[in-house]
């Protein structure tokens, strides 16, 4: 599968990325990652290993000092306009949902397409309702986020990103803040999204999701990428000692 994809378009290419936080902490050490179009990459690793930092550099929420990141042909540089262009093409789903509490579910979805893409509101609304139907919450379209359960909110957040028609979706521990009984409904939506051909980079600890959906699993520790492998190999026969240690801890 990976071989077949390798011939395909490269969606994301990170080379030798180094990040230091202002307090001097070296959060990313020479990390490389290539993601092809349609691929699902799961990033795992112990807490504090730099997974979020890495993911957030992909849409310019975090700065990096050396190395290069090219997304869909656009180089993330210092140019703010390029950064805005990348953000339009990259969707992000957060651990804490981050829905806009003062807007209805529908307005959460339509805000960015109308403001950023300048599309007609009625047309965006039609698309938004379709998306909400796809994630199973079209009946709640006129409620406010505070009236929904965590699982519903996270599904709205996914639909909100999709409404911008992104080429790449980033997920930062999308189920970690959810009650256990709601994890599955969110993973289900993500699985369908992957089956539909979306390119996805997902930070998660859900082993079952990684086994079933990921094309490759990345293990990070202490700001470094230590292992990249297909899921069946990663979970049954991890190569790096830190991978073995990590897997024994989460099982």
């Amino acid at each position: 599968m990976t071989q077949a994809l390798a011939a395909d378009v490269v969606m994301l290419e990170a080379r030798g990325v180094n990040t230091w936080y202002p307090n001097g902490h070296h959060a990313l050490r020479n990390v490389d990652l290539t993601v092809h179009q349609g691929e699902v990459v799961v990033i795992m690793g112990p807490s504090g290993s730099g997974k979020s930092t890495f993911l957030r550099t992909f849409n310019g929420l975090e700065d990096f000092q050396t190395g290069s990141i090219i997304i869909d042909g656009i180089n993330i540089g210092d140019d703010l306009r390029q950064r805005d262009a990348i953000r339009r093409e990259v969707g992000m789903v957060f651990q804490q949902f981050n829905l806009f509490p003062h807007l209805t579910v529908l307005d959460n979805l339509t805000l960015a397409p109308v403001l950023v893409r300048g599309r007609a509101k009625t047309q965006v609304e039609r698309q938004a309702l379709e998306l909400l139907e796809r994630v199973g919450i079209h009946e709640q379209a006129h409620k406010y986020p505070g009236q929904l359960s965590g699982g519903q909110q996270q599904r709205v957040a996914i639909a909100r990103s999709l409404c911008m028609e992104p080429r790449l979706m980033l997920f930062d521990e999308p189920t970690s803040a959810l009650d256990p009984e709601m994890v599955q409904e969110v993973l289900q939506v993500m699985q369908e999204l992957a089956a539909g051909g979306m390119t996805m980079v997902v930070v998660t600890h859900e082993v079952r999701f990684a086994r079933q959906v990921a094309d490759r699993v990345v293990l990070m520790a202490d700001g470094e990428v230590l292992e990249i492998a297909a899921p069946e190999q990663f979970f049954s026969n991890p190569q790096h000692p830190r991978s073995q240690q990590f897997l024994s801890q989460i099982n």
């Binding site: 849409n59 310019g60 929420l61 805005d84 953000r87 339009r88 990259v90 969707g91 992000m92 957060f94 804490q96 981050n98 829905l99 806009f100 509490p101 003062h102 209805t104 805000l111 960015a112 403001l115 950023v116 893409r117 006129h142 409620k143 406010y144 505070g146 009236q147 957040a157 909100r160 990103s161 911008m164």
Partner: protein, 408 residues
């Protein structure tokens, strides 16, 4: 102790009003003693006040000067313009009230309606206004209440963009109101020294309230900006203004603005004072807004940015609507102090409500009538502040509806 008695009762048990009162005030001998002492003190004070108000006070001073206290020396032939302004205000206020409350009539609104109706029927008659003027007031109140209920009934069908831009109507009302008051554009000019009393108080307070919001917002954003120079400038401004008493700033303003802008360019005394009030209030408004901005989680900005919104869009569509909601109670507190601070303008010689009251009291004819005049002044301020408080409470409830109640 009385609270522990409450907790022992099963929650579904209904207490009679009398029983509740007994538990709240007389649960044990000590509670009872304290309650008794308090009640008798309040009753005694109320009795004295009532006796003074009904038997000793000579309210003639209010009736004789009611127009002066309300308008200053605004010329009689031009007063129809103020009536027109009142109709305009009552229209916008009634519509705003209705749009905020929709079809609900909470207890606060019923109370406000009752007080308003009572005042309209009683006050003009009490200050011996002719029947025509009394009827005019009745009409104004009836119109306000009529619009309140009809706007309330139609609010659900008003398109959201209209509601979102509604607040922008108030600056327009202010500017047209000032046009009516000052004249020009075909209307006879009424020079500012003739404006006075409550009219001048409201002109000054509303000017500052409307302008301190954008100014305070700019300062709050400056204070949390990444540019060091901008940040230091905002901090210096806020700290300087908050460290100086308003009265010194008012005196300073009268002199400095005169130096800075010589001759005819220098604004009128009234507008100089209004600007000082604005400058003063904006420092406090900036701090209230900064607290609101600080209350918005980082994730909100990150979500907006990752959707592609730029800085300005993030601010106007995501951050500010939430920050203003958080800051609203503090902002209204600021507005209420601002209204009361206008009394300081009498010390720099402006004939606002307090200044006018003092000229009335300086008149030998009304010597010794201080208590009567100041009681009325206090009540007038109290009414204005109560209206502000009620309005902001209604706004808060409307803005917060998404937190609790489902919207259909």
């Amino acid at each position: 102790m009385s609270s522990s008695r409450h907790q022992q009762l099963p929650p579904q048990e209904q207490l009679s009003a009398l029983e509740t009162l007994r538990l709240a005030c007389f649960a044990n001998p000590l509670d009872g003693l304290i309650s008794l002492a308090l009640i008798s003190a309040v009753l005694a004070a109320a009795w004295q006040l009532l006796r003074w108000a009904l038997l000793q006070a000579q309210w003639g001073v209010i009736a004789a000067n009611s127009t002066l206290l309300a308008l200053g020396r605004y010329p009689e032939p031009q007063r129809w313009r103020l009536w027109l302004l009142l109709w305009l205000l009552s229209t916008v206020a009634g519509l705003s009230w209705g749009l905020l409350r929709r079809q609900s009539w909470p207890r606060n609104d019923l109370l406000a309606t009752a007080v308003l109706t009572g005042l309209t029927l009683w006050a003009p008659a009490a200050v011996a206004q002719p029947l025509a003027v009394q009827a005019h007031w009745w009409g104004l109140t009836a119109w306000l209440l009529l619009l309140r209920s009809s706007a309330g009934a139609m609010a659900a069908r008003v398109p959201p963009p209209v509601l979102q831009c509604w607040a922008l109507l108030w600056p327009v009302v202010y500017v047209s109101g000032m046009g009516l008051i000052a004249g020009g554009l075909g209307l006879v000019r009424v020079p500012s020294p003739l404006w006075g009393g409550l009219l001048l108080t409201l002109i000054e307070a509303c000017f500052a309230m409307l302008l301190c919001l954008p100014l305070g917002l700019a300062l709050a954003l400056g204070r949390s900006s990444g540019l060091p120079l901008l940040r230091m400038g905002a901090v210096a401004y806020i700290e300087f203004i908050r460290g100086a008493p308003l009265i010194t700033l008012l005196f300073l303003g009268q002199n400095i603005l005169g130096f800075l802008l010589p001759g005819g360019l220098s604004p009128d005394r009234i507008w100089r004072a209004a600007w000082v009030l604005t400058v003063f209030a904006s420092a406090y408004v900036a701090e209230a807004l900064r607290a609101g901005l600080a209350a918005i989680p980082r994730g909100q900005v990150e979500a907006a940015r990752s959707l592609g919104l730029n800085t300005a869009q993030t601010l106007s569509h995501v951050v500010l609507p939430q920050a203003i909601k958080v800051a609203l109670p503090a902002l209204v507190g600021q507005f209420i102090s601002l209204l009361q601070d206008t009394t300081l303008l009498s010390l720099i010689g402006l004939m606002e409500l307090l200044g006018t009251a003092r000229t009335v009291l300086a008149n030998p004819e009304f010597l010794g009538r201080n208590a009567e005049v100041y009681v009325v002044l206090a009540l007038l301020f109290w009414c204005c502040c109560a209206a502000l408080g009620l309005g902001s409470r209604a706004l808060e409830v409307r803005l917060n509806r998404q937190r609790s109640v489902a919207v259909r």
